[in-house]
Amino acid sequence: MADHRLHPITPLGHDTPHSVTIGPVTITEVTDTALASLAARLGEGKAVADIADTAGIPLPGSGHAAQGATFAAFWLSPDMWMVEAPFATHEDIVAILKPHFGETASLTEQTDAWARFDVTAPDLPAMFERLCNFDLRAHGPGAATRTVIEHLGCYVVIRAPGHLSVLGPRSSAASLFHALETAARSAF
């Protein structure tokens, strides 16, 4: 096998995940998560729910996210979820999930399609009301949705009080990061 001397870079182009602190806000690139979308095929909703239950993959209801022991997931659309797993052990996440679901679900590798930024701050609504239509004051931990940030379709997943993840298209990672930084400076 060829000896490739290539090393991976983060969505923002660094060797290690970039992090910035602006007042009370910390914005951090997160690269240790593997992603795959899981779509139940027509009429297989019950089978997929049973398999996921056995495999320890939470399948939350609409507008929500859930964390299991190894796997986490957030809702994308009816009968469709994004499954998250630790990158170190689940880099080839589709190959790991496919034997469980077989022909009941369609799985698509999504890991490198997205740039994930985790934002922590005591008052996140003040920052995100400048960024998107998602009303953080009306939603608590465990809520997840897709919305528009800086003209980009992004997922916002509330992990815990004062901690959320923004997943945006990786090819626009720098624009999204800039928008987050600008909103943080503006809010605090």
Binding site: G63, W75, L76, S77, P78, N133, R146, T147, V148
Partner: protein, 99 residues
């Protein structure tokens, strides 16, 4: 304008794109007509003829910047009041369309 999504609750119309009259769901079956001319006429009407009511109108909206579901929204074109929002797939299935 706010569209009350059946699953996600009230969402800004900014997140949606508009297609038009929900009658688009009722596409004629081209093979079910006695001859080609009748089928062509039916498809002509389906493609080009639309009611343009001043009042209640059922229309297709796509939640593009959300969960990407197609919705049938009943909207008053005079007042913009939205009285009903349904999933288009439920509407289609209730009419025997789409397995």
């Amino acid at each position: 304008m706010i569209i009350n999504h059946p699953l996600l609750g009230p969402r800004d119309a900014q997140e949606f794109t508009y297609l038009g009259d929900a009658a688009l769901i009722d596409r004629p079956d081209g093979m079910a007509f006695p001859d080609a001319t009748a089928a062509q006429d039916a498809f002509h009407d389906y493609l080009y003829l639309r009611d343009n009511p001043a009042g209640e109108h059922r229309e297709l909206w796509f939640h593009e910047q959300g969960d990407r579901s197609w919705l049938v929204v009943t909207r008053n074109t005079v007042t913009h009041e939205i009285t009903k929002v349904e999933f288009a797939r439920d509407v289609a299935r209730s009419r025997g369309r789409s397995k």
